[in-house]
Symmetry: C2
Subunit: 211 residues, 2 copies
């Protein structure tokens, strides 16, 4: 347990957090170069240079560290998106850049994307990690009259499904290289932006964005 509130973490707590992070980093390194099914817990503890038994002080199972690695990956992606959109005022542009960024990663980070897409828990993890940000963008877009959405929660869930299925199709080469741009447009359309406006917003935001 990590202490909350104003208390500083103790030396023991810091060390514990460091070991957990070492295990996570080791898992991500291994998953990037070999299949998860072929990865053993002892390979992870060797790579992290910690004792085999201490794995279970931090994770209940291999599935548990896989889920934690996917969450950490998504949080890192969210931080990257936040950096890309921090100066934007238009929530429609924010949505375009965010969904484009995640879809683009499907091609770039193949292994972790496969992991994300194959996990039974991927639905839950996507909604938990990305949902709060997407809800915030939807609310801002509605307040500014940029979006027309009758049920924000269904629109959020549908946009997440559109994103993840497109990522899967991209990772399997079932769709062309422009699919990341396409899905950004389609999500804006889900949020009630017309097809013409969505095309224009995506073109503008991907041209001006640093990514």
């Amino acid at each position: 347990m990590t202490s909350h509130g104003t208390a500083q973490p103790t030396r023991q707590e810091r060390r514990r957090a460091q070991t957990r992070q070492r295990l996570l980093d080791a898992a991500q390194t291994l998953f990037a170069r070999q299949r998860v099914d072929d990865t053993t817990i002892s390979q992870i503890t060797n790579e992290a240079d910690v004792g085999f038994g201490s794995f279970y002080n931090h994770f209940a199972s291999k599935d548990d560290i896989v889920e934690a690695a996917v969450r950490e990956y998504l949080r890192q992606q969210v931080r990257e998106v936040m950096g890309l959109v921090e100066e934007l005022v238009d929530p429609a542009e924010t949505v375009a850049i965010a969904y484009h960024h995640f879809a683009s990663k499907a091609a770039a980070d193949g292994e972790i994307t496969q992991l994300l897409l194959s996990l039974d828990a991927s639905y839950k993890i996507m909604i938990e990690e990305l949902g709060p940000h997407a809800r915030n963008d939807i609310e801002r877009g509605l307040a500014r009259g940029r979006f027309a959405i009758s049920d924000p929660e269904v629109a959020l869930v549908a946009s997440a499904g559109a994103l993840i299925f497109t990522m899967r199709a991209m990772s399997e080469d079932k769709v062309g290289p422009d699919a990341a741009v396409e899905v950004a447009r389609l999500v804006l359309q889900i949020f009630g932006v017309t097809e013409n406006d969505a095309a224009e917003i995506v073109k503008r935001s991907l041209r001006s964005g640093p990514g």
Copy 2:
């Protein structure tokens, strides 16, 4: 192997097909009343009244019969949708009724829906079983100027993802009872129909439809 072409199936082939169907029916009956994880192959062969060993003449594993049961369920749903839309000329109405029908089933057929949503193969199965029909509707809608879609394959994949994530949210009571109507509207928006037109088409097609 089933014979193709004009040859009639032999008596042996007919008997073989009947046994396979009995096993599938038994699996669906069992999955409707208990968890798949708690269902054994011997329960399935008992329910079907066939010998345990003959299971493996038809299916490689429990996963294999689960996948076949889900495919058969989807094909049955496709037949129901075909019945609902056969007299419609407007592909936009066909799309509204089809996606609404599938989403509505998430609440009605809880167990098989959970199965569909939890299967790692659900992406592949959905695209294989429903994709050809959706592609046909998209092509007709484009030819008639009802849809505005720049990449039909991405639109198809995104609409399937929107549907399946909404079904999952419905089966977990994360969205309201109108989610099936909502997702039908959102899929039309993915296909380039404006938000106002999509709302009107869905209202009209669900009012006039027999379902």
